[in-house]
């Protein structure tokens, strides 16, 4: 690596095209400079379709108790969770439920697309629309770099589509303006991509990982040669290109050095990873996400859990999520939702259990992780955005006063009501991004003088 040139690049002012080192490379440099590695903050975003009905995740003890005009903030550890969520009972000290935050600045209907984590209005029925900024999950990934900075895993693609397998673009997460995060829809391919440098179902991935070094070396040599023929005033552009490949070289060698660690934590390969049963594919993606976090391959994973065209057949459900949302099928919507909630709770509990089993610092990995379960269509199949429920598992490194709490914010339009923009601002602030407000403001609230547009102070430590 040529640090001198890179340092020069950093200082070189390139106007609007100024590029920065990727967070990962910066971290590697810090480590090289002898700065000790801190325990990273880890995040898993689990995005379900068709809404999370607020009542469905509200403990019976709190139903109807909260007034609509003030913050209801109670200890969650002493009450029972709704029965479909019983798998999460053992994690209640690390569990939190946040309700009542509005997101009217996002699109309603089947999906808010990038709005859910980007806090703005975008898209149509089938089209995800424009990406105007990095979504909050990607912002958190930037703050917690790793060899795979932000992993996207999907069971289904766009909200209304039968896309299946391979690289997918569900339209919910973006790493920057105009740059959607790619999701891997095939667990077997994801397995190779994440763990292939150390283990593999065949020897294929391992070999191609090794050979990739030849390509990177070739590109670096080639670009260096060409640079000599380029006018000096244009070297910055060529250097940017060269720099990008050098970064990949660094990642390559980092992964090579992690081989033991990766191999030790990779899930055992089984036919789970090639299953066509949706519920099994969900399990497979959860396994991969958990193992990738434990192996240190990534600190942030976003999982596209399902879409409205998916049917939970293995759970005995005979109607797709869209039908359920429209009250079709042989059972009531509520019954269907309970069955699905139970299944989701089990997936989340398994992940939490595995993280809890790994000691870290004074505690375990779950203490330093936040698993955030949310929906891209807020509170219902056709989301209204009036409230956007979140279920959170994990200690989050103690950066927020959340674990073990149940919070319900004042109703939309009431004094003291707050928005999902405030929520994501809180997370970003707590984990190192000092942004004053993340996202678009709710103009109606603003006009009526009850938009706070800032972090939720009561959550900050």
């Amino acid at each position: 690596m040529n640090f001198t040139r890179r340092d020069a690049l950093k200082n070189l002012s390139l106007g609007a095209g100024a590029f920065l080192l990727s967070p990962f490379l910066r971290q590697v440099e810090l480590q090289a400079a002898g700065n000790a590695m801190r325990i990273p903050n880890r995040f898993v975003f689990v995005v379900k379709s068709s809404g999370i009905v607020p009542d469905g995740i509200t403990p019976d003890a709190f139903k109807g108790k909260n007034s609509s005009s003030s913050l209801f903030n109670e200890d969650l550890t002493n009450v029972s969770l709704p029965s479909p969520m019983r798998a999460l009972e053992p994690f209640k000290d690390q569990l939190s439920i946040v309700q009542g935050l509005s997101g009217k600045m996002c699109r309603g209907g089947h999906s808010s697309w990038f709005g859910m984590m980007g806090v703005y209005m975008t898209g149509g029925e089938f089209d995800a629309g424009a990406v105007i900024r990095a979504t909050a999950d990607a912002e958190l990934a930037k703050l917690n770099p790793a060899p795979f900075n932000h992993v996207g895993l999907a069971i289904k693609g766009k909200v209304l589509s039968n896309d299946y397998g391979g690289t997918m673009y569900p339209g919910i997460s973006a790493v920057g303006p105009g740059q959607e995060l790619p999701f891997q829809g095939s667990p077997d391919i994801a397995y190779e991509q994440l763990f292939g440098s150390a283990v593999s179902s065949s020897s294929k991935a391992e070999k191609s990982f090794k050979l990739q070094k030849n390509l990177l070396d070739f590109m670096v040599d080639d670009i260096k040669k060409v640079s000599n023929a380029i006018p000096s005033s244009e070297h910055g552009k060529m250097d940017a290109y060269l720099n990008a490949f050098e970064e990949l070289q660094v990642r390559h060698s980092k992964l090579s050095s992690m081989k033991k660690q990766i191999a030790a934590n990779a899930p055992g390969y089984s036919d789970k990873f090639t299953s066509t049963v949706e519920e099994v594919r969900q399990e497979a993606q959860f396994d991969l996400a958990t193992a990738a976090l434990i192996a240190g391959l990534t600190n942030v994973v976003t999982i596209r859990l399902d879409n409205v065209d998916m049917t939970y057949k293995r759970l005995g459900i005979d109607e797709d999520n869209h039908g359920i949302g429209h009250n079709e099928g042989t059972r009531s919507q509520d019954e269907y939702r309970k069955i699905i909630c139970e299944h989701h709770s089990e997936l989340l509990a398994t992940m939490a259990q595995k993280l809890r089993a790994v000691p870290e610092g004074d505690g375990d990995m779950l203490d330093n992780t936040m698993i955030i379960f949310l929906s891209d269509s807020s509170d219902n199949h056709h989301g209204t955005g009036t409230e956007w429920p979140y279920l959170i598992i994990g200690g989050g490194g103690g950066k927020l006063k959340l674990p073990g709490r149940y919070l319900r914010y004042p109703k939309y339009g009431e004094q003291g009501c707050r928005t999902i923009g405030d929520w994501w601002t809180t997370l970003l602030n707590a984990y190192g991004n000092p942004i004053k407000y993340y996202g678009n403001e709710d103009l109606v609230l603003k006009q009526n003088g009850c938009s706070h547009a800032g972090p939720l102070e009561e959550l900050l430590v």
Binding site: N11, L12, S13, L14, G15, A16, G17, F19, S22, G109, M121, G124, E125, A130, I132, G166, T167, Y169, V175, G176, P177, G178, Q179, E180, P182, K207, S208, K210, L211, Q212, N214, L215, F218, M219, D222, I223, V226, I230, P231, S232, S233, E234, G236, K237, M238, A240, Y241, N243, A244, F245, E247, L248, L443, V444, Q447
Partner: protein
């Protein structure tokens, strides 16, 4: 330790001060004492001394030990103010050009010693700084320099990538756009602003991976166990290279790739090796950057002309977003792309050939006017009285209407700029327009059609009524989505529409059936001041709309330049000042609270009086008066006489104001509203020249320099002599020395007059 100097009193005390402190480079000190200190004392001290610290800037204690990194911020500001001639203020005594230069040279040299460079020069290359090049000088004819563009790399545009993608076929299934442009208003694709950094490379890598996986499936080399011969390998490499890089590989390149293959095949197999080679070719720097360094001979002015091939690519990318067509490449190969006249012929050929799509031309007007931002300004549906976002997105459709407004004027190609600013011939297009016209056509020809007769002449008539050159244009024009996408003009297709018309409109009333819109579109024409019951959407169009004058009163433009819940006089005024009058408005100071006070008893204009305080008005006087002209339209683009204040109250609109500081005496006058202001602007030489400057920027991918003066003057003259032909203007610009010649210069050197 910082060396502080005091120059307020006299250079003598200054030296005395300096002597007492540390002793840096004495040559540096000498230069400072002889040039910089007297300059600051003479021109800056009055306002930026300790007592009169105007705008909080105090230069009396500035350190001249800049080379050690002291007061970098301040010196950068001084450099910028001097370069842009913003300081000393116009009304004060002005330094001689050589005095200014000397101080700037000193600052630049000291900055360099400190290991920094000023960001001024890269900023000057960004679109928002284009107007800082003096307009009067540029068009005065006094500049005799021979024009050129800097030798450069220019990142591949997103549109070119999309077209390249199609040449990969199935292998491009998972391709993503590696070259997104920032989604902002104005001309975006500037050669100097765009880089291929790691974000670009990560997308390129994943594209290359998926494409090569697919490509090796069909390669005999990959499936063979035995090692390919050198010739086999070379031919496979060349074939792929031509497809991706658009030229034959050099011998050296072939041997490099072959070496990569051999090395990798030893560690893996043929398939692995070929896969890497294919990827390496796809990652070739020329597929990322267009190289325009000027491969011709150097002339007596130190410029080198682009080679024939370079020119072929430059022309093709300027107009078509595609690689050069066969005729261009042939011309390059046979030496017929060696002069300005050669280029003129080729550009004229492409412009005349209707079969060649030239999407770059319309995109210029979209970026220049900025009307394609309309769909991003969200309006509350309840407040709008019928604006729709679901099912159909009204603002996005108004943008298309505006496209047709532009295309109609371009098609006539006469007096183009004036027409764009003043014509009231609008298109009001949507799916219902299309359907009603088909229905009307059916009714007029019912007997014949019912008998199954549909002679060719009649079919042509339908095409003409729909304003189409062929059915392939149908979806482009009417955006039919899934509903009538397959419409092919057959009798069956017409009858299907007639049936749908009956069932969707749920009536047999002929008048309603051919003149009204189905529910989804009923409110669509409201922004054109049409009531629900006075709509007539039969083609052919355009329609003349009263109380409108050109693009700046088009709903798409008005919405794009509005806020979510109100109009935006400041931004509209800024637009006119910058795009039409060549004015410069500095960024909003960070200390300013830019919010407009809420008050339900006042109009927006009244509330904006906040900006008339002296320190605000210095800049706002350039914007607000122009923006007020457009207050005769609400934020949906509807013409209005009154502004509603909420709770049922309203006040009359006051759009009267005056234009000042335009630089043209005839323009500086009072006006009643936009409808009086705009025709005056359309008559102005300066406005026309400003528009030409923007055309230049877009097609050159950079700001103009003073040395481009000859190119611009000649472009302006050509435009006038051709009766306002945009095509003639384009030919002039694309065959100019600015377009065809290159010179290697460091950024800072480009701006030294």
């Amino acid at each position: 330790m910082a060396l502080t100097v005091v120059w307020l009193s006299s250079p003598n005390t200054l030296m005395a001060q300096a002597d007492k402190k540390s002793n840096p480079d004495s040559a540096n000190q000498k230069a400072f004492d002889e040039t910089v200190a007297p300059f600051l004392a003479k021109y800056c001290a009055d306002c930026h001394g300790e007592i009169s610290n105007e705008s909080g800037v105090v230069l009396s204690s500035i350190s001249f030990d800049l080379a050690s990194g002291h007061d970098l911020e301040h010196w950068n500001t001084v450099l910028r103010q001097l370069h842009l001639e913003e300081m000393p203020p116009r009304e004060s005594e002005q330094p001689e050009q050589h005095e200014r230069q000397a101080v700037m040279l000193w600052i630049n040299a000291e900055l360099k010693k400190s290991g920094n460079v000023s960001d001024l020069y890269s900023k000057l290359e960004s679109p928002s700084f284009g107007n800082y090049v003096n307009h009067e000088k540029l068009f005065s004819g006094e500049i005799t320099a021979e024009p050129f563009s800097p030798a450069r790399l220019w990142r591949t545009s997103p549109e070119v990538f999309s077209n390249v993608k199609s040449s990969y076929g199935k292998a491009a299934k998972d391709f993503r756009q590696p070259f997104p442009l920032e989604d902002k208003v104005g001309i975006k694709d500037y050669a100097n602003l765009l880089f291929a950094d790691s974000a670009v490379v990560s997308v390129l890598m994943s594209n290359a991976t998926s494409a090569s996986d697919e490509l090796i499936k069909h390669s005999p080399i990959a499936s063979s166990e035995t090692s390919p011969t050198d010739d086999m390998l070379a031919s496979a490499i060349s074939e792929h290279f031509r497809k991706v890089v658009f030229r034959d590989p050099l011998q050296e390149e072939i041997s490099n790739y072959s070496e990569l293959f051999r090395k990798t095949a030893k560690e893996g197999d043929n398939a692995d090796a070929l896969r890497l080679v294919l990827m390496a070719v796809m990652l070739h720097h020329e597929s990322v950057y267009r190289v325009e360094i000027g491969l011709g001979e150097e002339d007596s002015h130190g410029r080198r002309m682009l080679s024939g091939t370079e020119i072929a690519f430059a022309i093709a990318f300027a107009l078509t977003d595609r690689r050069p067509d066969a005729a261009l490449l042939q011309a390059a190969k046979t030496g017929k792309l060696n002069s300005s006249d050669d280029v003129r012929l080729q550009v004229a050929r492409i412009l005349q050939d209707e079969a060649i799509a030239k999407p770059r031309i319309l995109r210029f007007f979209q970026e220049f006017f900025g009307y394609t931002q309309a769909h991003k300004v969200f309006k509350d549906e309840d407040r709008s009285g019928g604006f729709a976002y679901y099912g159909e997105n009204y603002p996005a459709m108004y943008e298309k209407d505006a496209d047709f407004f532009v295309m109609n004027i371009l098609e006539k190609d006469k007096d183009v700029f004036r027409q764009l600013l003043t014509s009231n011939e609008y298109y009001i297009f949507n799916r219902a327009t299309f359907r009603n016209t088909v229905y009307d056509f059916y009714k007029k020809n019912q007997q014949q059609l019912d008998a199954g007769e549909f002679p060719e002449a009649k079919q042509k008539e339908l095409l003409q009524r729909l304003d189409l050159k062929g059915w392939h244009e149908l979806n482009v024009k009417y955006n039919l989505h899934n509903f009538n996408k397959g419409f092919n003009g057959s009798v069956a297709a017409i009858k299907q529409i007639v049936d749908e018309q009956y069932s969707w409109m749920d009536t047999k009333d002929e008048d309603v059936l051919s003149h009204r819109m189905q529910a989804l579109y009923t409110k669509y024409p409201m922004v054109y001041d049409l009531r629900d019951d006075e709509q007539d959407f039969l083609l052919p169009q355009p329609y003349r709309r009263p109380n409108r004058a050109g693009m700046l009163t088009h709903p798409a433009w008005l919405i794009a330049h509005s806020l979510n819940d109100s109009t935006d006089p400041i931004r509209r005024g800024k637009w006119v000042r910058e795009r039409l009058l060549g004015g410069v408005i500095p960024d909003i100071p960070i200390t300013v609270d830019a919010s407009i006070p809420e008050d339900h008893t006042k109009t927006l204009r009244e509330r904006l009086q906040k900006t008339e305080k002296a320190e605000c008005w210095r800049c706002h006087k350039k914007m607000n008066p122009l923006g007020y002209a457009f207050e005769i339209y609400d934020d949906f683009g509807r013409y209005r006489m009154e502004e509603s204040l909420g709770k049922g109250d309203s006040k009359p609109i006051d759009a009267k104001s005056q234009l000042a500081g335009s630089g043209e005496k005839e323009l500086d006058d009072e006006f009643k509203d936009a409808l009086e202001l705009i025709p005056r602007l359309a008559e102005s030489d300066k406005v026309r020249q400003c528009m030409i400057r923007h055309v230049f920027r877009y097609f050159m991918g950079r700001n103009e320099m003073l040395s481009d003066s000859k190119t611009l003057i000649s472009a302006d003259r050509t435009y006038l002599e051709s009766g306002g032909s945009f095509n003639a203007l384009l030919i002039s610009i694309l065959s100019s020395d600015s377009f065809l010649y290159r010179k290697t210069l460091e950024p800072a050197a480009r701006y030294v007059p």
